[in-house]
């Protein structure tokens, strides 16, 4: 039986702003408000806002919260030195596959975790299962909406709407957040631009959305969110990695905290065995200078070495050519060929990301 998609607290705001709504991970979400390309450009050049209320915010409290998270996550929450500091991590299964990728913040009374919408049910089940018998309380915060305001002018425009908070918001360093009553403002994002992710009580979200429009922030949809994150070389769960893919083959090696050696997180043994045996594949960027668009699932041929696959591909609005994230044999070359609708087409193999702060960064 198919259920009607859920609506975020900003559903009516999107309709009023002219959004084209689509179903995404069980939610009715704006794909664009007219032109995905224009929305992409506004985030690179000015400020856009994405409704990310479909993502799942979970507060974690209890005396065992820290120890449990240190056993649950491949990155180490012991690195979180002060309240509001954020950590990106994979949550792995025993085989070392990625159950989800997430952000965890140190809160005043424990931790706050943000996980993907598409993995909501299995993540919550995994959190409950692994915390069983421990002094850990999980509270899913469906009472909060979340807006990502992103772009070079994003912080200025949020500060114009929240002048009383401006000084503290401007003081935030990258990957840091601060609570303001029930609100939480963090300098994080998924676009490769500066900006904020703001959790706001659901009832206050529509007025905040309207105020941001008044301050010159453009509503931007999931379409632009995907091209922005791809240019920024950021993984999308279920595409660039999943439970069958090791973080070491998905560009997430930097998120695995190997030290201290005695910290036994779920998946550690499997990852250590992979390191000993040698990791076969790695994540790279592909750039195609000829016409056409690289797409997820296309075969990548590295001459004389082996084959890989495109895990995400698109047309890059910033670079005006097609780019992709791919998983290829570790001993890859500088060039490869992609099976583009039946024609093997030459692409360059580059290091991610493609774009940061509005500028091309790959060589």
């Amino acid at each position: 039986m198919t259920q009607a998609p859920r609506r975020t607290p900003l559903y009516q705001s999107h309709i009023d702003a002219g959004a084209k709504m689509v179903e995404f991970a069980g939610w009715s979400m704006p794909i664009h408000y007219g032109s995905q390309l224009k929305e992409h450009e506004v985030v690179r050049a000015d400020a856009g806002m994405f409704d990310v209320s479909h993502m799942v915010v979970i507060d974690i409290t209890g005396a065992d919260a820290r120890d449990w998270l240190r056993s649950l996550l491949a990155n180490d929450v012991a690195k979180l030195g002060f309240v509001g500091k954020a950590l990106y991590s994979g949550m792995l299964n025993e085989q070392g596959g990625v159950i989800d990728d997430l952000i965890v913040y140190l809160a005043e009374t424990g931790y706050r975790m943000v996980v993907n919408a598409g993995t909501r049910e299995k993540d919550i089940a995994w959190l409950k299962k692994t915390s069983e018998g421990r002094d850990v309380t999980l509270t899913v915060r469906d009472d909060l909406a979340m807006l990502a305001v992103q772009g070079p002018n994003a912080i200025d425009k949020v500060c114009a709407v929240k002048p009383d908070w401006a000084e503290q918001i401007r003081g935030l360093k990258v990957f840091q957040g601060l609570p303001f009553g029930e609100w939480f403002v963090a300098r994080t994002g998924y676009t490769g631009e500066d900006g904020l992710e703001i959790m706001v009580p659901a009832a206050e979200a529509p007025a905040f959305f309207t105020a941001l429009i008044g301050a010159g922030v453009t509503p931007t949809g999931l379409g632009a969110r995907d091209t922005l994150r791809l240019e920024a070389g950021m993984n999308l769960y279920g595409h660039d990695m999943d439970e069958s893919i090791s973080p070491l083959e998905a560009g997430m090696g930097w998120t695995v905290a190997w030290e201290p050696a005695e910290r036994d997180f779920i998946g550690r043994k499997a990852l250590e065995a992979q390191k000993v045996a040698g990791v076969a594949m790695k994540q790279v960027g592909l750039v195609m200078e000829s016409r056409g668009v690289l797409r997820e699932g296309m075969r990548v041929v590295v001459d004389g070495i082996g084959e890989g696959v495109i895990t995400s591909g698109t047309f890059s609005p910033t670079l005006k050519l097609s780019i992709a994230i791919a998983r290829v044999p570790k001993a890859t070359a500088d060039v490869a060929a992609v099976d583009l609708r039946g024609t093997l087409t030459l692409v360059r193999v580059v290091k991610l990301p493609f774009v940061r702060n509005g500028k091309k960064v790959y060589e």
Binding site: L37, T227, R291, G292, V293, R295, F315, R341
Partner: protein, 128 residues
Amino acid sequence: MSQIPAELKYVESHEWLRLETDGTVTVGITDHAQELLGDVVFVELPKVGATLARDEQAGVVESVKAASDVYSPIAGEVVAVNEGLEAEPEQANTAPYAEGWFFKIKPANVADLDGLMTAEAYAKEIGA
């Protein structure tokens, strides 16, 4: 709401056709098609002089979202292609019935047009 000009003919694969005064037929993709595709970023057009059968692949339109084949809605010889569209593919979004045309064909049999969908039939087809 999609625009569906009354004076044009349509086919199920979302191309439109316009019979010109010189007897050629101009072909493009409909407003509904461009809405489904989203922002168009590349087009591939047929070669001038190519002879196409009805429903034969005539080109490709790629949007940020997906690649789709463009079919010839009528049999004939390609007599012109819109090079301006290759340079500015967004015209398929902004002016699908004007600057966003794809190619012109000299129909093998101009009567073939009669069997194609009217604007009214196409509106029904797409549920507009």
